[in-house]
Symmetry: C2
Amino acid sequence: MAEKPKLLSTVLGSEQVPPHLARGVIEERLRSAILDGRLPPGTAVRQQELATLFGVSRMPVREALRQLEAQSLLQVVMHKGAVVAPLIGEDAVDTYALRVLLETEALRQSIPLLDADDIALARAYIRQLESETRHAEIGRLNRLFHMALYSKAQNQKLLRMIEIELNEEERFLRFHLSSMGLGKLTQDDHIALVDAASDKLVDEAIELLEEHLNHAARTIRSYLDRQSGN
Amino acid sequence: MAEKPKLLSTVLGSEQVPPHLARGVIEERLRSAILDGRLPPGTAVRQQELATLFGVSRMPVREALRQLEAQSLLQVVMHKGAVVAPLIGEDAVDTYALRVLLETEALRQSIPLLDADDIALARAYIRQLESETRHAEIGRLNRLFHMALYSKAQNQKLLRMIEIELNEEERFLRFHLSSMGLGKLTQDDHIALVDAASDKLVDEAIELLEEHLNHAARTIRSYLDRQSGN
DNA sequence: AACATGAAAATTGGATCCAATAACCCTAGT
DNA sequence: ACTAGGGTTATTGGATCCAATTTTCATGTT
């Protein structure tokens, strides 16, 4: 497959930033570029390249890379460089099992407190998903839809954890949506889910969500098996 | 209250480490010192102090501090320094609610797979807890006991998450055990728990664990309320 | 005596320089 | 022609130096 080695300046801006803000800015730019897929897994990130791009020394770049490594978005190897971390792989099954646990609980807490605005917002995301074809946007809308349903959960720590996992999934979908059949399929699940939430049918909604996530897990699983099998 | 500003060299070793290992060593030393409480929350950590202590420049120290900040063990403020992060506080309720969710699931997965050795190990920890008076050791044994019961859970990601939370609790107990009555209390819970696990009574064990954690949450909660109230 | 103002010291962050190491290429030998 | 070896180059990590900012302390004024 022909991987075109696109320049970093095309995927990140190239504005000159004041030095004392450099670390934060660079970190944020890189993070979002990695999360939304503009920097695919495996991409090598050079310190000097980023430094000249933002018009600073390598120092703030180093720090930013270390921060991202700590969040396991990058893997830094001595004298070799930083590469964008691989996507969900071996632990896909664990990840989705965990998500079922976390997200059903969030749903349980949230549904009774959801108001008409929340439901309307969720339905709006579904509507946008209907006509959306860009993968990055589909991933984003999917995340926003789910978070809209969980948004009223009381446990903030739980919500933060869920958001991390949804970001992971978004990143994964960004790359593999096309190659794995999935597409319209989930829309029915989404509609049923928001309907149940709207009617405050907690148990039914939980059951739907569980089914929805297990289905996704199975799809990804068989997709990954098929890939490594070939 | 009289806080004696003990020297860093007393809580960390003072061996000279080869420069190319400095970052990792320093990070590890600091992490364990923070986790097991030798560095109490609020302690200010100076870059130069660590640097001279280990006989290296400030560079590897900086990086180590950043790593620890990313794990939220430190809070670094511009031109002011790094202070050891505060313990469980506002989010204690969220934390324990989350732990109930995570740990009951781990227990559900683990119990059917526990063998005689696992049970024996758990009982050994209980026995050591009987005669132990040092808080740090009590916290450690408590963590090891719980992990022993969860150890056979299939979901590795779940286990990693639980271990993080248990480390947090260990750190908290290290400081507040004495001032909050708690002590022998949990031993009965522990014994009942391991008995249920030994008899493969999953639902009963889960119920016991839930009660155990909720009790701990209530204790900590009232302790914190009492503290801030005064 | 108390407070405000200012200067000095302490401390962190960035820039530049040097060392160590790994990747790469080119050449020579089979 | 292909492989092995060595040397050059690229790249990261640490050390040192400088800039920016905050804190602290002292001094003067009210």
